[in-house]
Amino acid sequence: MRFPYGPAALSMLILSIISGVWLAFNPVPPKKATLVMWTFAKTHYDAYKQAIPSFEARHPGVKVDLQLVSWQAVTSRLQAAFLSDLDVPDLVEVEISAAGSFFRGPLKDVGFLDLTDRIKQSGLYDRMVQARFAPYTSRGRIFGLPHDVHPVMIAYRRDIFDQLGIDPNEIQTWDDFIRIGRKVTIPGKRYMLELPDSESSRFEPLLYQRGGGLFDPQGNCTMDNEIAVQTMLFYVPLVAGPNRIASDLGGGQIFTRAVEDGYFLCMIAPDWRSKTIEVDVPKMRGKMALMPLPAVYPGGRRTSTWGGTMIGITKSCKYPDLAWELALHLYLNKDDLAQRFRDTNILPALKEAWDHPAYDEPRPYWSNQPLGRLYAQLAPDVPFQYTSPFVGTAKGKLSEALVACVQYYKQNGDKGFEEFVRKRLKQSADEVRRLMRRNPY
């Protein structure tokens, strides 16, 4: 007897019957975990995998299901799940630029547990770098424990600096940096610094260094204040115009090639990026070094901050006390943090952890500099970075303003530039404020 619909349909039918029967007799057992945790960073995931067994051993019967979830999924899927009351994990690590968007709406509707009292009662507010709570605070309430500090330094090609006779100790201020940069920059072939002219990811650390920011502690948009104007007036001539000393090509393989070719001599490097550079540009081992960020004025702040992660406990968590204990286990254990620092170069927010010898170990990649100590010395000076549910919009608007200012400067130079910067930043800030006013909550 022939199957009436042909061999293709017959094979599909057979396949579906076989797989259906197989699944019926071999059902996938549901995971039974007491706590489910999401993280978006592979390095965090690997570190927590090692730390979780000791937590489970301390709590017999408790099982932690750690899941590596993409950054995109954490920001969009978790947001959607919170908003629609769907299943969410018990603990989540959220990237700093997305954190603000989770604090939208009335405080009672924020999907994360308010950790303010736990943090203050346990003394963690003083034991950790206080500036790092700011990005995870909304209307005075803290919704996340900071994972890191991310102080910013400058990574540079030490071998080329030596060849050119540049002494990094002579670079104290941005004026020093720019003066040397103009001497060594060869347009189209070599630039003193890697800085983009089309988005604001590295403009922001320089804005924070000057004490500015996108928002103030009350959540008001401040991206057009005098500090922002002065930062823009400083930044744009670095990346545009005849005297520019900075360029940008992009990330990944192109970045590797550019650093190897000496296309960039310096890069803005928070602790996490020092690891990225190690991994992406392995050939530069022993040829790279770090120096503090040049100060805006003599004696001024020699660092800033770029990036960050918080851990939060969701309101739907059935065992919030246990989840809090897990968060503390992952974020406070000094030995684990030391090992994590060795693996990731990330300086933890817990100040007392920096006493560990791991932070004084010389790093061959960085010309045997004690990487941890360099970052730790700058960490107490890391600026505050306030957030708002509109932080994503504000970042986009700041990027738009930057692009417009770059275009203006390319066409007109200094003529009327300051006036344009003020006008353009105000336009962007007003657009953010307009959106904020629309918010009925």
Binding site: Q79, G188, S198, S247, D248, L249, I254, Y263, R438
Partner: protein, 315 residues
């Protein structure tokens, strides 16, 4: 009058006719057969459509916190610079996609329909194959091709025209759209070519012979025979390309590294909808954007069909 065999087989027996169950089953059977579709359609089609229409009149923080704002979302939309930018970008993309893509597709189809071209099957596969990859893969591929200093596009343009090696296609607001249009051309020209090729092969050969006898040259034959012959397919391709262009999302999203690009030069309407709905959580405003997009696409499609005379039918 002939009786259909199905009527014979479905005619209930005397005993069965007395059964209420059978009568019920007999009446309900058609509804039961179509019910899977109806259930799925109402759950995943009609309900979300109606819900989104209602949401368009609310300011929301997700579905659980909603405040009725009447027409405020629509009023805000018409003064929203980001939405204007998204509409402009999408319209520019649609314009160039349609007016470059369709002539190129038709040209390729004419070429491959010619009996003088050798290896037509291979060429057909070659031109169509980019479409097999998917927008995400193509986006990743072209974001590498467009990188400054070391990218293949810049190397090639530098070699033939002296274009600077550090030209930033995806970081310069003036070059983002050309980069997106070029990428979409590579991807979709071959796809539309297949439609045109099928239409060309369906044109009656006798008409060409008659035109030749009447003294028509190749150009006259193209205007008088080919174009009218492929008109229904051309209108279909035009409308579908326009709708597809207005739904643009993945390509710029991937090529511009999950963003709208410098100065929002790659912001499309669907991207704005996504950002509003799923990043900032304002599903109400996102619904307003979605409905405006749907109405816009409908109007443009109707306009295109009217202009091209697709409603007249028969020709």
């Amino acid at each position: 009058m002939a009786t259909r065999p199905t009527d014979i087989s479905l005619t209930p027996t005397r005993a069965a006719r007395t059964s209420r169950w059978f009568v019920l089953q007999y009446r309900m059977a058609p509804y039961l057969f179509v019910s899977p579709f109806l259930i799925l359609f109402f759950t995943f089609g009609a309900y979300p459509i109606v819900k989104s229409l209602i949401l368009a009149f609310y300011a929301t923080n997700g579905p659980k916190s909603a405040v009725f704002v009447g027409l405020q979302n629509f009023i805000f939309l018409f003064s929203d610079r980001d939405f204007h930018k998204a509409v402009w970008n999408t319209a520019v993309f649609a314009f160039w996609s349609v007016f470059l893509q369709l002539p190129l597709s038709l040209g390729l189809a004419l070429l491959l329909n010619s009996r003088w071209v050798r290896g037509r099957e291979l060429l057909r596969l070659a031109f169509f194959s980019p479409n097999l990859l998917g927008q995400v893969f193509v986006g990743v591929l072209f974001s590498v091709l467009f990188i400054p200093q070391y990218g293949l596009v810049n190397r090639f343009l530098h070699f033939i025209a002296g274009v600077p090696l550090d030209t930033k296609w995806l970081a310069n607001p003036n070059l983002v759209m050309p980069a997106l249009v070029l990428t979409s051309l590579w991807m979709y020209v071959g796809f539309n070519m297949i439609y045109f090729l099928a239409a060309l092969q369906a044109v009656d050969k006798d008409l060409y012979e008659a035109a030749t006898v009447d003294g028509a040259n190749a150009w006259h034959q193209f205007w008088a025979v080919t174009l009218p012959g492929i008109k229904p397919v051309a209108v279909f391709v035009l409308v579908m390309s326009t709708i597809g262009s207005f739904q643009l999302f993945e390509l710029p999203w991937i090529m511009l590294n999950n963003s709208a690009g410098p100065d929002q030069a790659g912001l499309t309407i669907v991207m704005y909808l996504y950002q509003t709905g799923f990043v900032t959580g304002d599903l109400g405003y996102a619904s307003t954007v979605g409905w405006t997009l749907a109405l816009g696409v409908l109007l443009i499609s109707l306009f295109q069909m009217r202009v091209t005379g697709a409603w007249k039918g028969g020709d």
